[in-house]
C-alpha cells in the first residue's frame, strides 16, 4: 500500500460520525431510487404479463340474438381469427348480510376448453357443478364468504336463490372486487337458466392471429366478423375493442408511477444536495492538507485521484447498504401494488438496469459533488491554503443584514451568536435550507394532494344529490311507483330517468366502443333526466347546464369530451341508431365514466319510450350512510312487493367507497412519499448540523476556554438548528403551494381528467413544523454533546 493510500484509509476511519453521515446521505438517494424503480419495473412487467396470460379477447361482438355453436366454429375458421368463443355477462345481485351488492356473472360456454379471458384456477372446482359458481378471489372479501359457502344471488328475471361457491379463480384482468364494491362469479349457461334467465350467449369474443396489439387491425378483423355474422342473420349492436394489451388499470398505474418517478427524481436531487454539502464540508478541512501535500511534491492529479478513491470507498459502502435494502423495500412495494391491482407476482426479479442505475447514480453524483471542492481545493494556491486565517471562509461583510439583525439588543448574547453562525457560511446555509425546504415542500405536497383527492371525493355528494340509484331490467311507467317511494318517510325526492349505453356514432353499421369485459372500464353512457332535475348539481366547466326539456341538447362530462367544442353537433348511437345532438356544455364529474346528459322529454320522444323510465334516483333527507342503508332496504322491499325487476341498486356511499378504493393506490403512494421525505429531511438536518459543528470544534474550544459553560454552548447550537429549521419552513410552505398546484393538476388530469383544486392541508403543515422543530432539536443534541465532551485542549489542537 502506498503511503498516500494510508492517508485515505485513516481519514476515512478517523471520523466515523461524519463519514457515516456521508454514507447515509448517498444511501438514501440510492435507496429511494431503487425502491421506487424496482417496485415500478416489477409491477409494470407483471401487470402486462398477468393480463396477457389471460389471453384477453381482442374484441367482443355483442348481438341481439343467442349465438349458435356452429356460428362460433365458422368464425373460428375465418382467416386472421385465432380464437372465437361465445360468452354472456349478466349483471345480477348478491345479498351480503342484509344488503344487496352488484354481482357480475360471467357465463362460460365451456370451462374446460376456454381460450379467451381465461382466469387462473386457484382451488376447488375447475368447472362448477350445476347451481354452483366459481368466484374471483378478491370477491370473497366483498361476499364475506369463503369457498364452500352458499351465497344468495338474484338475476334480473329470477328469484333469489342460494348458489354454492365451489371454486376460486384469479382473474388479473379484473380490478379487485373490493375496489369495485361488487362480486364476480363464473357460471355455466344451465346454471344461469336455473337462476331464472332465459337468454343464451350474446357475446362473441375473438382473438386475432396477427398484430394483436394494433387497434386498427383488430377493428378491421372485428368488422369482418360482424359482417359475416350479419350475413347469417344476426344483428350486431356493439363491437367492443378495449385498448389492446392494456390492463384496465394501466392508466391508473401510469399516474401513480409518474408521481413516483417524479418524486424519486426529487429524492435523487435532495440526496445530491446532501452529498454535496457533506462533501464540501469534508473538503474544507482537507484544503489545508491539500496545500501541504502540494508543497511537499504532490501534483493536482495525484491529489484528485486520492479524493476520488476516498469518495469511491464511501460510495461503495453506501451502495452495499442501500441496494439490498432498496430491493427489500421494492418487494414490499410491488406486493402492495399487486394487491391493489389484483396481480399475482410470478417473477419477482428486479431488472438489472435498476441496480445499474443505482450504481451509476450512487457513484457519479457524489463524484461530481466532490469534484467541485477538490478542484477548488487543488486550485487554491499553496500559500492561501497555508494561510493561518483558514480557507474558503469568506469574510462576512459586517453590514450583512444578519449581523445587524443579531445586534438587536433585547436578544440574548447566545441567541445573537447563533444567528450569526447560521449565516456565517452562506453557501452551506443555502444548501441546508434548500434540502429542508425541498423535503418539506414535498412532504406537504404529498399530503396536500391526498387531501385534495379527499375533497374531490366529497364532491360526489355535492354533485349527486341522490342517495340511491336503481337500474331497472325493463323500462316501465313508473309514475305511481315514484309516488309510493316519495311517500316513504325520509325520502325527499324521487325521479325517473332513462339511460342507455352509447357510442359516438361515425355513421357505421355497428357501433364500436372501448368497453372492457367488466362493462365498467371504458364505457360510455347516455343519461336522460327530467328537467330541471333536483338530483344532480353538476360542476359545469364550460357552456351551460341543460335547460330546455324539448331541445336536442347534450352536456358531456370530461371523460366523454374528447375533442369536442361548445356548439358542436354530435351523433350518439342509442339502441343501435344514430341520434343527433348539439353540445351546450361540459361538466366535470367525480367518479363517472364517460357520460352524456340529455333531457328526458326529448330523449323519450326520440326513442319512443315516452313515460317509461329505466332508472330511479332517490334522495333522502338524512344523507348519512347509516340512514341510507336503512332507507335503501325499505325501497328494495317496496320494489320487491311491487314485483319490479331490478338489475342494480347502487347507493352513492357505495360508489364513493369504490372510487375511494380506486384512489387508494394513489393516496398510499403519496403517503409513502411523505414519510420518505420526512426521513430525508430530518437526516439532512442532522447531517448538516453535525457537520457545521464538527467543523467548528476549535472555535467551540476557544469559547469554552474563555468561559462558556456547556449549557451555553448547547443553547447556542440548538438555537442555530432551530433557526435554520424555522427559516426552511417558510420556504417549504411557499414551494409546497407551487408543487401542489402542479401535482394536483397533473394527477387529476391523468387519473380523472379534472385538475384537483389546490388544497392546503393544515395538518400536514403542522406536522412538518413539529417535525422540523423536534428534528432540529434532536439533530443538534448529539453534536452539542460531542462538542462539550471534547476537552478544550483537544478542541484547540483539532485539525
Amino acid at each position: 500500500m502506498k503511503t498516500r493510500h494510508n492517508k485515505i484509509f485513516r481519514d476515512l476511519t478517523s471520523d466515523y460520525s461524519k463519514n457515516l453521515m456521508l454514507v447515509l446521505a448517498i444511501a438514501i438517494g440510492v435507496f429511494g431510487i431503487g425502491a421506487i424503480l424496482g417496485g415500478y419495473s416489477v409491477t409494470k412487467r407483471e401487470m402486462t404479463d398477468n393480463y396477457l396470460s389471460t389471453h384477453p379477447a381482442s374484441a367482443t361482438i355483442e348481438m341481439e340474438e343467442d349465438i349458435s355453436r356452429g356460428m362460433v366454429d365458422s368464425v373460428k375458421a375465418m382467416p386472421g381469427i385465432a380464437e372465437a368463443e361465445r360468452h354472456a355477462t349478466v349483471v345480477a345481485r348478491m345479498k351480503v348480510g342484509e344488503k344487496w351488492f352488484p354481482l357480475l356473472l360471467f357465463v362460460i360456454d365451456d370451462f374446460k376448453t376456454k381460450k379467451t379471458n381465461t382466469p387462473f384456477y386457484i382451488s376447488g372446482e375447475r368447472e362448477p357443478s350445476p347451481s354452483a359458481m366459481l368466484v374471483e378471489r378478491t370477491a370473497l372479501v366483498v361476499m364475506k364468504a369463503k369457498e364452500g359457502d352458499e351465497l344468495e344471488i338474484k338475476t334480473p328475471h329470477g328469484h333469489p336463490q342460494k348458489v354454492k361457491l365451489s371454486g376460486t379463480v384469479h382473474d388479473p384482468s379484473l380490478a379487485p372486487a373490493w375496489q369495485e364494491q361488487s362480486g364476480y362469479g363464473y357460471i355455466s349457461l344451465s346454471t344461469l337458466h336455473a337462476l331464472g334467465e332465459t337468454q343464451g350467449f350474446d357475446q362473441l369474443r375473438i382473438r386475432v392471429s396477427e398484430q394483436p396489439f394494433s387497434k386498427e387491425h383488430i377493428l378491421v378483423e372485428a368488422k369482418g366478423v360482424a359482417s359475416r355474422v350479419t350475413q347469417k342473420g344476426y344483428h350486431v349492436h356493439e363491437i367492443q375493442v378495449p385498448p389492446p394489451g392494456k390492463h384496465p388499470h394501466q392508466g391508473q398505474m401510469t399516474t401513480v408511477m409518474s408521481i413516483f418517478i417524479t418524486f424519486s427524481f426529487l429524492i435523487l436531487i435532495l440526496g445530491s444536495i446532501l452529498v454535496s454539502t457533506s462533501m464540501a464540508t469534508l473538503m474544507v478541512k482537507q484544503v489545508r492538507q491539500i496545500g501541504v501535500m502540494k508543497t511537499i511534491g504532490a501534483n493536482s492529479w495525484q491529489i484528485g485521484v486520492m479524493y476520488l478513491m476516498m469518495t469511491l470507498v464511501l460510495c461503495i459502502l453506501a451502495l452495499l447498504i442501500a441496494i439490498p435494502l432498496s430491493r427489500l423495500a421494492a418487494s414490499v412495494f410491488y406486493h402492495q401494488l399487486a394487491v391493489l391491482l389484483n396481480l399475482e407476482i410470478r417473477d419477482n426479479t428486479i431488472p438489472n438496469w435498476v441496480p445499474l442505475l443505482q450504481i451509476i447514480g450512487g457513484i457519479v453524483i457524489p463524484l461530481i459533488a466532490v469534484a467541485f471542492p477538490v478542484i477548488r481545493g487543488s486550485r487554491v494556491s499553496v500559500r492561501t491554503a497555508l494561510d493561518n486565517h483558514g480557507v474558503l471562509e469568506k469574510r462576512t461583510a459586517t453590514n450583512f443584514w444578519a449581523v445587524r439583525f443579531s445586534r438587536i439588543s433585547f436578544l440574548s448574547e447566545t441567541f445573537r451568536l447563533s444567528i450569526r453562525n447560521v449565516f456565517r457560511q452562506r453557501a452551506r446555509m443555502m444548501m441546508t435550507l434548500g434540502l429542508l425546504a425541498a423535503g418539506g415542500a414535498m412532504f406537504m405536497t404529498a399530503l396536500n394532494v391526498s387531501e385534495a383527492w379527499d375533497n374531490n371525493l366529497k364532491r360526489i355528494y355535492s354533485q349527486r344529490l341522490y342517495d340511491l340509484e336503481v337500474k331497472l331490467n325493463q323500462p316501465l311507467k313508473a309514475d305511481s311507483l315514484l309516488n309510493k317511494i316519495r311517500r316513504i318517510p325520509g325520502v325527499t325526492v324521487a325521479e325517473g330517468w332513462s339511460h342507455s349505453p352509447t357510442a359516438i356514432s361515425k355513421g357505421e353499421a355497428t357501433e364500436v366502443t372501448q368497453t372492457y369485459p367488466d362493462k365498467g372500464h371504458g364505457s360510455f353512457t347516455i343519461q336522460a333526466m327530467p328537467l330541471p332535475t333536483r338530483l344532480l348539481s353538476p360542476t359545469v366547466k364550460e357552456g351551460r347546464w341543460l335547460a330546455n326539456p324539448d331541445a336536442a341538447e347534450v352536456v358531456l362530462n370530461q371523460n366523454a369530451r374528447g375533442g369536442y367544442k361548445l356548439g358542436d353537433r354530435i351523433s350518439l348511437a342509442v339502441y343501435g341508431k344514430p341520434t343527433a345532438w348539439t353540445i351546450v356544455g361540459f361538466t366535470e364529474d367525480v367518479g363517472s365514466p364517460a357520460m352524456a346528459y340529455t333531457s328526458y322529454d326529448y330523449f323519450s320522444t326520440l326513442t319512443q319510450t315516452q313515460g317509461q323510465v329505466s332508472m330511479l334516483r332517490i334522495a333522502y333527507a338524512d344523507r348519512s350512510r347509516q340512514n341510507a342503508e336503512l332507507k335503501n332496504l325499505e325501497i328494495e322491499n317496496l320494489l320487491q312487493a311491487e314485483q319490479i325487476s331490478v338489475s342494480a341498486a347502487i347507493p352513492v356511499w357505495l360508489l364513493q367507497n369504490a372510487i375511494a378504493a380506486h384512489m387508494k393506490v394513489m393516496v398510499n403512494s403519496l403517503m409513502a412519499m411523505a414519510v420518505l421525505m420526512a426521513l430525508v429531511g430530518t437526516l439532512g438536518l442532522t447531517a448538516t448540523m453535525s457537520m457545521n459543528l464538527l467543523e467548528r470544534t476549535r472555535e467551540i474550544g476557544v469559547m469554552r476556554a474563555i468561559g462558556a459553560t456547556p449549557a451555553t454552548i448547547r443553547k447556542l447550537v440548538v438555537w442555530e438548528g432551530l433557526f435554520t429549521g424555522g427559516l426552511s419552513i417558510f420556504i417549504a410552505i411557499v414551494l409546497a403551494l407551487v408543487l401542489s398546484t402542479f401535482f394536483g393538476r397533473f394527477i387529476g388530469n391523468m387519473a380523472f381528467r379534472t385538475p384537483l383544486t389546490l388544497t392546503v392541508s393544515v395538518s400536514a403543515m403542522a406536522m412538518w413544523v413539529a417535525l422540523i422543530i423536534i428534528g432540529s432539536y434532536a439533530a443538534t443534541l448529539y453534536p452539542a454533546r460531542r462538542a462539550n465532551q471534547i476537552t478544550t485542549r483537544e478542541a484547540l489542537s483539532y485539525e
Binding site: R4, N6, D11, Q289, T295, G297, N299, S300, R383
Partner: protein, 234 residues
C-alpha cells in the same frame, strides 16, 4: 557533496510582487535582486509585514512574481506550469512550516515517507529505511509510529524537517520554524539546520530570533519590501 549541489544557486532578478487591494496595488516586494550561493545557512530578517514570507514563497515557487524572474539552479521557477512545479518543488525544495503541518492522520514515519511517494523518488522498498534514518538523524526515531498529535512541538518540527529532507532536496526553506517553540528547543532546531548546510544543503530561514545570528553565513534584512542590509560571512 555532489557536483550539482555545489552549483546550486538562487538568483532573483529585479523581482517585484504586488497584491491587488481594493485601495490599489500593495507592493510587498519592490525590485529585489539577490544571489544566494549554495551550501549556506541563510537568514531573512525584518519586521512583521516587511515581506519576508513573500520573498520565501517566491523562491519556493509557492507564489509567482509580478515582475522579474526567479531562477533556481538555472530553472526559471515562475515559468513552470503548476503541475510540473509541484514535482519540481517536491524534488528540489524541502519546506518547513511554522505550524509544522504534519498530516494528522498519518504516523510520523508515514508523514516522512509521503513526499517520496508523491515524487516517486526512491524505490518503494527503500523508502521506509530512508525515512527511519532521517528520523534518526533528527533524533526522533523512537516516535516513528506515533501520530503527530502525540508529539511535542519540538518533536513535530523535527519530524517536519525530516519530511522536508525526504526527497534529498538541495534546498530547504523554513518560514519562522521556531516561532512556536521555546528558545532551548529553537536552538536545537537551528543546530539541526546548521548540520544540514555542512552536508551541502542550502537552508533559507525566515526568523526573528536575533540570538542565533552566529549560525548564519548570510543574513538578508528586509524592510518595506526592500533589502536594506545584506551581511555575508565568509
Amino acid at each position: 557533496m555532489n557536483h550539482e549541489q555545489s552549483k546550486s544557486q538562487i538568483q532573483l532578478t529585479r523581482v517585484s510582487k504586488s497584491f491587488p487591494l481594493a485601495s490599489g496595488d500593495f507592493h510587498a516586494l519592490k525590485n529585489v535582486s539577490l544571489t544566494i550561493p549554495s551550501g549556506k545557512l541563510v537568514a531573512i530578517t525584518g519586521k512583521s509585514g516587511s515581506g519576508k514570507s513573500t520573498l520565501l514563497n517566491l523562491i519556493a515557487g509557492i507564489d509567482k512574481p509580478t515582475e522579474g524572474s526567479v531562477s533556481i539552479n538555472g530553472v526559471q521557477v515562475e515559468k513552470l506550469p503548476e503541475s510540473a512545479l509541484a514535482t519540481w518543488r517536491g524534488k528540489n525544495i524541502g519546506v518547513v512550516f511554522q505550524f509544522f503541518q504534519l498530516l494528522p492522520t498519518l504516523t510520523i514515519l508515514e508523514n516522512v515517507m509521503l513526499p517520496m511517494d508523491f515524487c516517486n523518488s526512491y524505490p518503494k522498498k527503500e523508502r521506509k529505511s530512508r525515512a527511519l534514518s532521517l528520523l534518526e538523524m533528527v533524533g526522533i526515531k523512537e516516535q516513528a509510529d506515533k501520530l503527530p498529535s502525540e508529539l511535542s512541538g519540538g518533536q513535530q518540527q523535527r519530524a517536519a524537517i525530516a519530511r522536508a529532507l525526504a526527497n534529498d532536496p538541495p534546498m530547504i526553506i523554513a518560514d519562522e520554524p521556531t516561532g512556536n517553540l521555546d528558545s532551548q528547543t529553537a536552538s536545537s532546531i537551528f543546530d539541526l539546520f546548521a548540520s544540514l548546510t555542512r552536508a551541502g544543503k542550502t537552508v533559507i530561514i525566515v526568523t526573528h530570533e536575533r540570538d542565533f545570528s552566529e549560525y548564519f553565513g548570510h543574513v538578508i534584512a528586509i524592510a518595506d519590501g526592500e533589502i536594506v542590509k545584506e551581511v555575508i560571512h565568509a
